[in-house]
Symmetry: C2
Subunit: 218 residues, 2 copies
DNA sequence: CGTTGTGAAGGAGTTCACAGCA
DNA sequence: TGCTGTGAACTCCTTCACAACG
């Protein structure tokens, strides 16, 4: 079981397992077999067991995993012990949406501050918070002890902003900026690019149309 | 070079290359070496060359790749020859944001229709379109010949909606629903879960804090 | 008996390293 | 000479298959 670090591919699945477990708990289930969890998460049983084995988790042979206990272990592994303050930089269309999106709140994150550079936006009330000036970034990060930031600003201003966030103490950034951004070692950046996702889908959609029918002679 | 299908990992990077090439073109560059492209996209030169080789692309040895030509080839490979009509299902907080997000438009997609189930939302003007009833889904898909859909509705209604979209002729779905959804063979579904992304970041952020400093006793 | 936990096998993706060509 | 294109080596991830065990 435990030896080196948890593989990145496994880490990316842990939140999915957690979500599936919370749904199971909601439905009154209190034990799940790896196969049940696999079905709910969209993977397969072997993968589920291997993934969970990295946590040193113990299910019960012949029975399965305790839903509540496993959910607790996953939350702990992910560092979700309390509501984590997140700073959102960029309150344009997308930023505004993210601010209103209650999925963050429901899954353990609190948007502690909204920042923007535009004078017309600063001072506005968005999703129950007053937008502050990005000039106050360093104070805001310190004030809330935020180590997570969400970035939704234009590409041109993004790299300097990343550098400022890192200098201010942010250790992980979720970027919606459609450009490569560099961070130093010890800081994690994940990029979500919505148009890229559609383009990937476009590739496969088009493939299916072009390809010969895989089966059946009509 | 070309043999079997293009690896999924490569497909997921093609839009990133395309984006980098468009930026280069914007900046007046007309030839890039694999190393330049790698730097711009955040990968490495060997990966770039191997990826492009699957397209049967030919750069010029000793010189590099023609920016405009390669961008055209990538667009073609991705099926981005024209503005593709996309149907958005779910005009809540997130859906509203997606509707207003101009990244889709700028990168070759047109939100052809916005659909929702809530009577209070139907008929509203959102991002310049009138929201239509989800009851009209089948007509709307046929009308615009949309093969792509974006799904931003609550988890509870999601699977039946996926089934309806597929039955109506949609071949690729970008889902923001935080649950596993099944699609038949020949239909592609990509899931983007914003809270999951933050949870993954949380894991790494917390790791760094717990780990001993990797170098230098400062 | 049923399900976990895990070595071992297999497959996918990445990187190396260099021959081939402009 | 410089950079592409690509087999081969390597690393990472997934799946198999079964012993271990409640």
């Amino acid at each position: 079981m435990r030896d080196g670090p948890i593989p990145a591919a496994t880490v990316a699945r842990l939140p999915v397992y957690l979500q599936a477990l919370l749904e199971a708990a909601e439905a009154g289930v209190d034990v799940v077999a790896s196969d049940d969890l696999a079905r709910a998460a969209g993977y397969n049983a072997a993968k589920v067991r291997k993934d969970l084995s990295y946590l040193g988790t113990h299910g019960t042979r012949g029975v399965g995993y305790d839903v509540e206990g496993l959910a607790r272990e996953l939350s702990l592994a992910l560092g979700l012990v309390e509501d984590r303050p997140v700073v959102l930089v960029g309150v344009g269309n997308l930023g505004r949406a993210l601010a209103s999106y209650d999925g963050f709140r429901r899954r353990g994150f609190r948007l502690a501050a909204l920042l923007d550079a535009a004078p017309t936006v600063i001072g506005q009330e968005v999703a129950g918070s007053r937008v502050r000036s990005v000039a106050e970034l360093e104070e805001v990060v310190a004030e809330h002890a935020s180590s997570l930031a969400v970035l939704a600003i234009p590409a041109a201003q993004a790299q300097p902003m990343v550098d400022r966030l890192v200098a201010a103490g942010v250790r992980a950034i979720l970027s919606f900026v459609p450009t490569h951004l560099s961070v130093p070692d010890g800081v994690t950046l994940r990029r979500v690019d919505l148009a890229t996702e559609l383009q990937i889908l476009s590739f496969y959609e088009q493939l299916v149309v072009d390809a010969p029918a895989p089966t059946a002679p009509f």
